[in-house]
Structures are given as C-alpha cells and as structure tokens.
C-alpha cells in the first residue's frame, strides 16, 4: 500500500528517533530539565554566602530530611495534578494513614510490616474513594478531595481518640525514617532513611509516570480526557487507579512522618496540602494538567525547604520570613518561565 513516491519525501522530514544516553543528554528536553535546577542553585549559593552555617553536612542532611515528607506528598500530588485534577486531602490522608499504622502496631500489637502495609493500603483505599467520587459520581476533584480532607481529619481524631498514638512498642518503627542505612555503609554520608525513601519513591514514580501504561494515561487524561474516552480507553478505571496510587504514596508519607515523630499525631496534616501542591507547581507542572515531571516536583520541594531552612539559619524574623518566602516563590517560578521562553 505504501507508495514509493510518498515514502521518499516523508523520510526526509521524519527525524530519526534519537537514542543512546549521550544523545538523550543533549536533547533540548534534558538540557531544559538540568537548567530547572537554576533557581535552586541560586538560592543555595546565596545562603552559603549569607551564613557560614548553611553549607555544612549536618545542615544539608537536615534540609534533605525536612524535604522528605513534603517531597513524598508532592509526588503523590503530581500524579493527580497531571491528570488535571487536584488533591486537597494529601495532608490529612497522610495523618490518617499514620493513625492507622498506629492502630495496627500499637493498639493491636501487630508486627512492623503489617503496620507499614496498613498505612499504604489505607492510603490507597482513601485514594480509591476519592477516585470513585471523581470518576464515577463526577464530583469535581476540588470538592471530592476537600470532603475527603475533612472526613479524614475527623476520622483521624475519632480513631485515635484525639490523642497521639506512640510507637514505643514497635522499636523498629523509628528506623523507617530516622536511622541511616547509607550512613551505616558510608559514615561520611549520614543521610537518613527518610531521604532514601523519598529518593526511591521519586525514582519509581518517575518510571511509572514516564514508562508505564498508567503514566501514559495519566498524561493523556490531563491533556484531553474526552479524546482518551473516545479512543476506547476506560477513563474512569484509570482515573481511579491514579488517585489510588496517589493515596498509597500519601500512606508512605504517613509512615515517614509517624516514624520521624515516633507517634501518629492526629491533629496534624491540614495545611500540608498547600505546601505539596506548591512544590508541584513550582516544579513546572501545570494545574491544568497534561504536563509535569517528578524531578521538577522534587526541585520544587527542595526550593521550598532550602528557602525555609536558609531564612531560619539567617535568623530572619519570622514575619519577614513569610514575606521573603512569598516573594522568592514568585521569583523562582518567574525565572523558570523566562528560561523556558528563551528556549
């Protein structure tokens, strides 16, 4: 069927698919990703000059650790935001998962792995509920997850009896977040496990988003849901999967924070969603869906924690910290916009 005359003209216009790591590195897309670090680097350099206490192993580790929870939550949000949705419930969902881990481990005295599984499972379950509300009942994501946010906040308090649940009977639990596997191997790098987990979650999420069927549908849903539906894809199913995956990742965040605080604090969580979404958006993901990268999200999360940490190290008065943070978030994103425009 292919007629020889057309094929010849076509082949000149079709660029050969570029392969090989080297070629990939120099693809414009990759270069752009590397440049996205710019704002972060500028911040780091500034703070290094502003305070000699900033650029020290301890503090770098502290920044890494401070990014872990928000980073994981932001990764959870990235999935949802790429579909063009939003998830306001990530913060309280994290808390809910932490509380459920507490119930399983402390109240019921189950072994550690069951607590871990419970947190992730309950996260997936909550995400599943949001997903069903959004995909099947067509409740707008904002409302469905706002409702879930309140529901889970209340449930966390009810289940825990408005008291923190401590993990003193499960000694291994703090290991999840606080100890350092890497530090045990390379003493010079005492990177806490929380950061390792953030890193693993990021890598896995990145692979899922870019290389898996789920990831492809995530982008497609955000780009044009109706077109995907008319392609014969079970849009509802995939949407529910996306929210469930996002929920499961919130469960991991719940484990991180509970392990770090050695307790499930039922009152905590609200307000974390804004930080998470901010990290995603600072990282270049559009709230209207269809675009986004995990690396961007991670950079966004780091920009936020470097900023907070740096200003605190400089002992800037708290009210001014807020002012400066606001201004710098805008500036960082603006720089990113300028950079992309140039390309």
């Amino acid at each position: 069927m292919a007629n020889p005359t057309t094929t010849t003209t076509a082949s000149t216009t079709t660029a050969a698919p570029s392969s090989g790591i080297a070629a990939r590195l120099f693809r414009p897309a990759t270069r752009q990703k590397l440049l996205a670090f710019a704002s972060l680097l500028v911040l780091m350099i500034f703070f290094s000059f502003a305070s000699s206490n900033f650029m020290q192993t301890d503090n770098m580790v502290a920044i890494l650790q401070a990014t872990a929870v928000n980073g994981v939550l932001a990764i959870a949000c990235t999935f949802v935001i790429v579909t063009g949705g939003i998830d306001l419930s990530v913060g309280t969902m994290m808390t809910f998962c932490a509380v459920m881990a507490g119930v399983v481990l402390t109240h019921w005295g189950m072994p550690l792995w069951l607590g871990v599984a419970a947190a992730i499972l309950f996260g997936a379950l909550c995400g599943f509920v949001s997903g069903v509300l959004i995909a099947k009942l067509k409740v707008p994501p904002f409302i469905a997850t706002l409702g879930m946010m309140m529901l889970l906040k209340g449930l966390s308090l009810v289940i825990s009896g408005t008291k923190p649940i401590y993990f003193n009977d499960t000694p291994g639990f703090t290991y999840i977040s606080q100890e350092s596997l890497i530090g045990d191997l390379i003493p010079a790098l005492p990177i806490p496990n929380a950061v390792l987990i953030l890193f693993i979650v990021a890598v896995v999420a990145s692979i899922v988003l870019n290389k898996s069927v789920l990831g492809r549908y995530t982008f497609a849903l955000g780009s044009n849901e109706e077109a995907v539906r008319l392609s014969g894809v079970n849009v509802d199913f995939w949407k529910i999967v996306v929210y469930s995956v996002s929920g499961a990742i919130c469960g991991i965040a719940g484990l991180l924070i509970a392990s770090r605080l050695n307790s499930a604090q039922p009152a905590l969580g609200q307000g974390y969603e804004l930080d998470a979404i901010a990290a995603v958006v600072i990282g270049g993901t559009s709230l209207s869906g269809g675009t986004g990268t995990i690396i961007g999200t991670i950079i966004g999360a780091f920009i936020m924690s470097v900023l907070t940490n740096g200003l605190r190290i400089m002992s800037v008065a708290q009210e001014w910290q807020t002012v400066v943070t606001g201004v710098i978030i805008i500036l960082a994103v603006y720089m990113d916009i300028l950079r992309r425009k140039k390309q």
């Binding site: 057309t6 076509a10 216009t13 660029a15 698919p17 497609a220 077109a227 008319l230 392609s231 014969g232």
Partner: protein
C-alpha cells in the same frame, strides 16, 4: 491598483521547523486569492503572521503600499485585516452573538453596561446576510462544528475588513452553506475587499478564486491565474511531482456477510428511529446536510452518547454498548469530526496519540511501555501517511491541521477495528494526502473491514461509497446504490423534511 497586501521574503521558524522560508504573497483589492499547498506547507503560518498572531523573523509586509509592523491581532484589525482561523477559536460558554462581538460590544448606559439587545440584533443582521438560521443567543458550545464554523465566518465578516483571510472556512461546511458563503464572498469582492482563501477542495477553488499562489515547504512556488491553469499542474506544483488520480472500480459487496446491524436507534429529536446494516468489505457513505444527525448516529453506535432505544448487532450477535470502551472491544472504531476536542490529546506528542487506543499492545512486563516498539510504529505511520513532523516526539498541537487529522487516522488504523466510522476523514487534508486516504479506505475495505464514511463532500461520497445512506433531521431518508447515485438525488433526499413526507 495598489495591492492590499504585499509580502516579501518572509521567514518564520519554530523550534525544529522552518515554517516559512522567504515566502511571498500579493493580494489585490477585489480579488479572491487562493493559497494552496500540502499540509504543513506554511499557509496558515503565513496568514497568522499577517493577522498579527505570530511575529515574523524576517521579511517585510506592505499594506496599501506602506510597510507595516503587525505585532498583535489588534494591530491587524486596525489595518483592516480580518481572519477566519483554521482551528475554531470560540468561547464555548458565550453565546454566538457574544462571540462575534467580543471586544466590540455595543455599550448601553454609562458606557460600562452591555446592550445585549443591540448585540443580538447586530449578530442577527450578519446571520441574515449568510442566510443562516441561528439564534444569536445560543451558546456556542451547544452548536455543531459546522454552525460554529459559520459563527467564526460571521465574526470575520462583522469586522468589515478590507482584507479577509479565510483559512479552510468550508472544511466543516456542506454544499448549501458553501453556496451562501460564496455568495457573500462575491458580494465582498464587489465591494473591493481582498480575500485570501485557503482550501484543499479543488472544485471550490475553481468556483471562487481569481488567482492562486502555491507554496511548498514554506517556500513560494508560483502565482498563477486560476481559470487558465489546469488543476493538474497546480497540484504538481504543490506536491512537486505528478499525482495520478485513477478512480478504482467499485466492487459489489451486496453478498458479503453483515457485520453490523443497527435497529430502531433513538435519542430525542436528534436520532429518530435509525436503522441500517453494514457488510464486510463495504464502504457505506452517510450523506446529509449539516446537523442531519450523522455524527450523532455514529457517536450513539460507538457508545459515546447514551441512547434511548435501539439494538445493535455485531457479527449477528446482539451487543450492548454503553461506552466507547465497549465499542472498541467489539471491534468498532470512530474517527471524530472534531479532532481538536475529541480526537487528539494535542498537548502530547505524536507517538502517544498514535498508540493511544492500542496502548496495551505496547507493554513489557504487563505495565511498562515498549518505547522502542512505540517509536517504530509511530515512525511507520508517519511514513505511510506522510505525516509532516520533525519527529515522533513533536507535540501534536504544533503540527499543521491536516497532519493532525492524519494522526487521528493513524490511531484507528493501528487499533485494527473491523468496523470503522470515519466522520469527515478528509477534513482539512491536502489533495495528495486525500488520495492516499482514499486508497487507504479502499485497501481497508478490500481487506474485509467494514467502513462507514460520513462526509459532507458529495464528490467524495460519490467516489468512495459502495452504498449511500442519506439522512435528514435525524431520520434516514433514503438509500442509494453506488451506480445510481448522483448529487441531485442525494440533495433531494437530504432535504426531505418530515413535514413534507408525512401526509397532512
């Protein structure tokens, strides 16, 4: 006579694409100047530069002999340049009248409040001029693509421009509307308005254009008078080679097994008791005026919209189709007439769109994508359909309209359905590619696929169909065998209104 517009040595590049390469163009007052070229030749880009949407990289533009700098749509309007864009640019949440006069609303009290009645009246005047029956208060989002296109045209007319650019204005229109449009264009021509007319429909250009400028790969090829130049030579200028257009014989498929039977399909006033059968290896043409309900029938069978009643049999077995997923599961594919909204995820790249409905065929280990296979497959289709794109990773949004259409086709070819609904498959596609698509449809039919081709271009319907169904106002008003069908017979059936058929 000073030309309305002169464009010299205009160049424009996008990342990875040199869309215009020292292009030239000249428009005289009172002429209809056709701009022709293959998909992606740079026609739209050239006109967008003229309309202030894109900024030129180099070159010059003279309007009425004076060099000008058109840095915004507003600047173009101020110079008297109006444009109907190839892609619809409407605000779906606003009414037709509100869309037409956006930015130029008649003001009432204090110059702050809107005079809605004056607005609707003004819009109505333009609709009258187009002989268009449309309530100016209708929300644009509720209109069919064809009506939306008419709103765009009405909008361009409302500017009373001296230069009117029409980028494939008739792609979604039917003969009757095209006639109305041409009437208006001739009227404008008489008033000294210069019209740039972009279209892939050759017979149309014959009727309306005075001169034609041909472009290829962003470059200027030639400007020739329309009347005295044989179509064949224009086409070879466009494609840079000879194109043979032999019409194949229409096979007899009346004895083939029935693959799809639709009975008693109903939904409100849009689909009224529609039933038909489709045979293996058959191309069934669906003709009708705009809004006749052909798209609605296709969408209903495909499960994209709910139905009130109706039975569907596939290969003789009763099936329930509640969603496109069910339909695809039964081997039914549907190529939408509105690629931007229903056909493509335009924010994603070419390869993703090509594999979108067959993604589960490109997996490794159950969930990971076989990127190599995807790239290869996309590359195959890019070659097979001559899709003009810098790479399979280009965003679909950045391709020319015709090439976007080809990607939708590629998607369904890849899905390999037994029953395919092609809704306006050649909308916005150039001659070369059109004949490719015809060949493709014939080849698919020959392979045993059953095809429903909905088209508003009668010559196309006549040329391709083995059998033709005509619809009017949601009913099937007649069936014609290929050899007995003529334009006149189709038009007669297409205007057979219910009130005329039911005895009083």
């Amino acid at each position: 006579m000073t030309p309305n517009v002169v464009i010299r040595n205009l160049s424009k590049s996008f990342p990875g694409v040199r869309a215009l390469d020292r292009a030239q163009f000249e428009l005289l007052p009172g002429e209809v100047h056709a701009l022709m070229g293959e998909n992606g030749a740079g026609k739209s880009t050239l006109m967008k530069v003229l309309a202030g949407v894109y900024q030129k990289d180099e070159g010059e533009i003279l309007v009425d002999g004076r060099p000008v700098d058109i840095d915004s749509p507003r600047a173009a309007q101020a110079l008297g340049i109006g444009i109907v864009h190839q892609e619809l640019n409407l605000m779906n949440h606003l009414s037709a009248a509100q869309n037409i006069f956006i930015g130029r609303e008649p003001r009432g009290r204090f110059g702050v409040f809107l005079d809605e009645d004056a607005l609707n009246a003004k819009a109505d005047v333009i609709f009258q001029r187009l002989h268009l029956k449309l309530d100016p208060r209708t929300l644009v989002g509720d209109l069919t693509v064809a009506k939306q296109q008419m709103v765009e045209i009405a909008k361009a007319l409302s500017f009373d421009s001296r230069v009117l650019i029409m980028d494939e204005p008739t792609a979604a229109l039917n003969n009757a509307e095209i006639e109305e449009l041409f009437r208006v264009v001739r009227q404008l021509q008489g008033e000294g308005v210069g019209v740039v007319y972009i279209s892939h429909k050759m017979d149309e250009l014959r009727q309306i254009a005075n001169r034609v400028t041909v472009m290829r790969d962003g470059q200027y090829i030639a400007t020739v008078p329309m009347a005295s130049t044989p179509m064949q030579s224009i086409i070879s200028m466009m494609v840079g080679r000879e194109l043979n257009q032999e019409v194949p014989d229409i096979p007899d498929t009346s004895a083939n097994p029935v693959v799809l039977t639709v009975r008693g399909l109903r939904r409100g006033a849009v689909i009224k008791n529609v039933g038909f059968t489709l045979r293996k290896g058959e191309i069934l043409g669906f003709a009708g005026l705009m809004g006749a309900g052909r798209t609605e029938v296709a969408r209903a069978v495909f499960g994209a919209d709910p139905i009130e009643a109706g039975e569907i049999e596939v290969h003789g077995k009763r099936v329930t189709i509640r969603s496109p997923q069910d339909a695809v599961g039964h081997g039914i594919g549907y190529l939408s007439e509105d690629r931007k909204h229903f056909g493509l995820a335009t924010g994603l790249d070419v390869e993703t769109n090509v594999v979108l409905s067959s993604l589960n065929r490109f997996t490794k280990a159950g969930m990971f994508l076989d990127q190599v296979a995807i790239e290869k497959t996309a590359g195959d289709y890019i070659r097979q359909l001559s899709i003009k794109t810098p790479s399979a990773q280009q965003l679909v949004r950045l391709l020319s309209g015709g090439n976007q259409q080809k990607i939708v086709i590629a998607k369904w070819l890849l899905r390999d359905c037994d029953i395919l609904f092609f809704d306006e498959p050649t909308r916005g596609i150039d001659v070369g590619a059109k004949s490719e698509i015809y060949k493709l449809l014939n080849a698919l039919a020959a392979q045993g696929k059953a095809i429903v081709m909905i088209s508003s271009e009668l010559p196309e319907v006549l040329r391709m169909s083995h059998r033709i169904l005509v619809m009017c106002e949601g009913r099937i008003t007649g069936e014609l065998k290929a050899h007995e069908a003529t334009q006149e017979k189709i038009m007669h059936l297409a205007t057979l209104r219910e009130s005329a058929t039911t005895p009083a």
